[in-house]
Subunit: 242 residues, 2 copies
Amino acid sequence: MEFKKEFTAGIIIIGNEILSGRTVDKNTSFIATWLNEKGISVEEVRVIPDKEQIIIDTVNEFRSKFAYIFTTGGIGPTHDDITSESISKVFNQKYQYHKEAYKLLEDYYKNQDFNEGRKKMAKMPENAKLIPNPKTFAAGFYVENVFVLPGVPNILQVMVPYLDKIIKNGKKILSISIDSGLRESVLADRLSEIQNKYKNIDIGSYPYFKDKPGTVLVLRSVDEIQIKKCETEVKKLIQIYK
Amino acid sequence: MEFKKEFTAGIIIIGNEILSGRTVDKNTSFIATWLNEKGISVEEVRVIPDKEQIIIDTVNEFRSKFAYIFTTGGIGPTHDDITSESISKVFNQKYQYHKEAYKLLEDYYKNQDFNEGRKKMAKMPENAKLIPNPKTFAAGFYVENVFVLPGVPNILQVMVPYLDKIIKNGKKILSISIDSGLRESVLADRLSEIQNKYKNIDIGSYPYFKDKPGTVLVLRSVDEIQIKKCETEVKKLIQIYK
């Protein structure tokens, strides 16, 4: 499947904790699943460290390739949170307190010390538009087509739905999973023939080796009629070897 | 922390199943944790689709930047497994049956149909050296500094240890995790001062929001004495707010 640029996205995971192996990235899976529903295809994911020049270069490269760019991580109160300032530099915008974001945090911390770290979470590129955070009130933001989200999965997950109306929908990407119960190598030759026949369907083949080896076949397409036809053929193929 | 190029690595995750959100990538975490023990720093991870030109370009770019390149995925028997052929093109080597890899598979499948898909798993760049696979006998391989591994985590994990002797060790990257039990924003200002004092230590700050919000602070360094000193200061800081 090939997507027009307007229906493509790239995800940039900013964070040493993924690169060090300490944390498994769950944000890609969440964002990608949500985008697929909207007909947007994630074409590339990069995990990069908290380094300003790398953040700037990666965002710029992604902007030249994809319609939507999502970043996760690096918008908290600590010294290693440099995403917002880096994004300001991408757009040549001042990095300053966002009035509304500041007010939200001020209210939230009213009985506590509203210290520098907490204030920092309201600093954004000057033309940033907020992405609400109903959980901890430190907002995310977007500038043009770059959407800046936090790294903590359960916060990111309550913020992403606010973007539903901002991102233009494409044709929903349909996905059918079929657990063949057969080894991948049994199916390979004939599956290849089916793939050649259905150019608009991506047929993925994902082996597993648990108690018994098997393979999940995943059909993906925006074409409802073709994917159904393809499903029928794949199921027939499985019956031959069952 | 800055690492000399000779102690750096990049990981390329090849697979539409990660980009579609269907699967959470666990291989990065496994490979990165293992490399950290060996003193090798993972500087970048990319998730890319099963497309030949993208695989070739990404491997070439990574080879110019990092000492070790690991790829996962795309070496199975099906039509969407194009990694081995793409790597052959990176090195301008013939893509052909590897004698030993072929023999291993032939023995393994001796009572079953040794079909085209199964044979395909023995096709590699002509100068590939094998990475043994004691689980399903479809070997991985490496050419120069590019290590080609499967995408299935429990197979990858039994293969990686075979590379222990091939990859040159750096100084082990030490890591100390401290669960502060405090919100990140309480610690931010003073933590920044500690980071400024210890330039050789990466201090990461990872908030969580479960039953109660808290923050794990992670110190990383190759310097055993400094990391201990830094740990003491961080623990003192936490005590102030406890």
